[in-house]
């Protein structure tokens, strides 16, 4: 029994960050599509293992054929320029092409 409790506790501790981040969903988000220089699966990989850890990121989608990265983020926590810089820091160019009206999201 003791070990079951320990295990449940461990799961709880591990899930706390998820619950906390889930509360962010009430916040206003914005989706931006960037035209980038990604041209290989490894580039996608690099984006996918780094970009989600930038502040306020809710979703990242990469599309190799069109070389675009679509990022959804919480408006209060980040902005288009910061995300562009984050992509550039990974070694790719990034140019904002479309912005989805945040009003649509709510």
């Amino acid at each position: 029994m003791k070990t079951i409790k320990k295990f449940v506790l461990a799961i709880l501790i591990a899930t706390v960050p998820a619950i906390i981040s889930a509360q962010d969903k009430s916040k206003e988000t914005e989706t931006i599509k960037y035209s980038t220089s990604i041209d290989c699966a490894n580039c996608v990989n690099k984006i996918m293992t780094n970009l989600p850890y930038e502040k306020g990121i809710k979703d990242v989608k990469c599309d190799l054929p069109s070389k675009t990265v679509t990022v959804t983020y919480v408006k209060d926590k980040n902005n288009s320029e910061q995300i562009k810089k984050a992509i550039e820091k990974l070694g790719y160019t990034a140019k904002e092409i479309t912005t989805e009206n945040p009003a649509k999201k709510n």
Partner: protein, 740 residues
Amino acid sequence: MNKTFLKILLILLFIPTILAGQKKLEGKIFDTADKDESGLPGANLVWAGTTVGTTTNAAGYFSIKRVKETDRLVISFVGYKTDTVSVSPDSDYFKHSLSQGKEIGEVFIYGRASGTYTDRIDPVLTVNITGAELCKAACCNLSESFETNASVDVNYSDASTGAKQIQLLGLAGTYTQILTENIPAVYGLNSAYGLNFIPGPWMESIQISKGTSSVRNGYESMAGQINVEYKKPRTSEKAYFNGFISDAGRQEANANASLLLNEHLSTMILAHGELQNSNNDHNHDGFRDEPDIRQYNLFNRWDYMTENFTVRAGFKALGEERIGGQFSYNPSDDDTWNNGFGININTRRYEGFTKVGGVFGKEGSMTAGWIQNIAYHDQKSDFGTRSYDGIQKTYYSNLLYQWNPGLSRHNIDAGFSYKYDLYDEKLGALILGRKESVPGVFAQYTYTDSAKMTFIAGIRTDFHNLYGTLVTPRVHLRYVINPVLTLRASAGKGYRSGNILAENSFLLASSREMIIEDGPDIEEAWNTGISLSANIPMAGKTLRLSGEVYRTNFINQIIIDMDASTDEVRFYNLDGKSYSNVIQFEASSTLFEGFDLLAAWRWNDVKMTIDGLLREKPLTGRYKGLLTASWLTHLRKWQFDYTFQLNGPGRVPSTLSNPEEYRRDETFDPYVIMNAQITRNFRKWNIYVGSENLTGFMQHHPIIASDDPFGEFFDSGLIWGPVHGRKIYAGIRIFFNRDV
């Protein structure tokens, strides 16, 4: 085309080499969805409008001659969208990924590499376990790396030493040749604990092949072959750390760091430390469920690579002490009779290897490689009042040569090997020594048409100083019936010279007397196998199905007889039949983004003539079912893994002659083992918590006469199930990757 096959062989040899030449384009093709870029084998490349083409090798690499007419390259592969790309005439290296399916939506969702995949071009059915799969379980060492694999069973060999044994095709692990980077690793004195000496975080990948494998690595591999690739300086992390802790009292630290000294030279250090203070006695028999272990393990390796020449070298050092048995046992107390029943095993192992490989001849049509290994293994062990000490000195050399005449579809391999093992063993006062010196020659012919078929016929002849001339013929076939179905078949012979004491020393943890009868002969078996695999495209996903049948038929085998008497374990040459028939089905698919499911079922029919009767192999399940589910969330922050194993019933050697309280059932029932793990990824690190044996199922009273360990009924060797209950563990991995 032809260079590709040379490359396949080179990679099989683990001498990655870049082919020389000026007007060539080299590169790699991989699945867009594959985050590890592990390469698509058998993808076709052709210069648009010409007949100049090639296919990628087993690792997804290709080399193609430049043509004057065009710089447009058409890349295609069954089940993938065909791409046409322009390659600048100046570039000599090119990477490209193909996307699965024929249609691409507006936003393509990238999956990830399967943790386990079957090579589509290799004629030998090889299951590759990648680093991604190894991270799905605690995976502290090689013996714990097969929890999510349907083909390999892992069992404790006894209830006190913590030694684990694997089974492939229902046969003892000793019938599987275990290699590390193509060097025989786990055999002889190393066979009992050797699997525990290969730390999980050191491994880059594991290749498992069933049935006989290529004659290049020797006459062993009767049931199959397991090869472990360690991390290498140029492809591994700059620095890596792993810490692990479990409620069973185990603590582990693993680290590796690599340094690229210049364009050609690189080095790497891998370290492992392990401390287990077992405090558990779930079955209240006064014996440790698992031994106390202290282990250090170090590995330093060096690589020197030029365009067509590679040298690899390394040195390993290992020290381990394990203490098992009763809690009342104190290893520093010499009074063996009043001190409680104790097991104390001290191992030292030192190992060094060199590998040299090169490409030469016109257009690189020839390659040569030379692998050498030396090892010193020293084991001192006490089991209660009995002792077993052994020293093994090993030298191994394998010289390989490949020729692809006229760069055709025909490939010839030939080589010379030499294996030397000197054993000094002491069982109590009995001194045993043995020398094995085995020169051998081999030749192999390979026909490859990667789109259609691969056929390999090989033969080797070894001149064993104890067992005479051994001839080993083997054939393998891969045939692509249609884009969906691939057929594989293999047939061949295998031999093995057993090391009875070393392989079974854990049986000293019983009152059984070890009796070796009538000069054991070399073990000999035929193995045949056939398998059919299908990759069925279904609604943008691929359903992978496979079915296989393997039969191993022993001509001679060393029978381990625990049936005839509870006082003895007898070892003698097979007199009668002994065989293993195994049928296995497997289905796996990615159900939705990031969610992989695998289901497998296997029947074992393993029988041998023990004490004059054809009997079921003891302590082996008649079937096994496996279900694994793995889910990685879209942003790759969370990973959930779950494994369900149903282990079938089996037979236990009779204990009928014991007094009633020391008898055990002669069969065991099916039982379920579940494992689960949750991983949270961060940019440069991840943490994981998990549980092995979630339901806490245990074999009850695994040790017979645990109250009288010096008496005549004591036996800790009749083990068919887990001897340890539920384990909870947690760990952290920190990695600094090299920018690609």
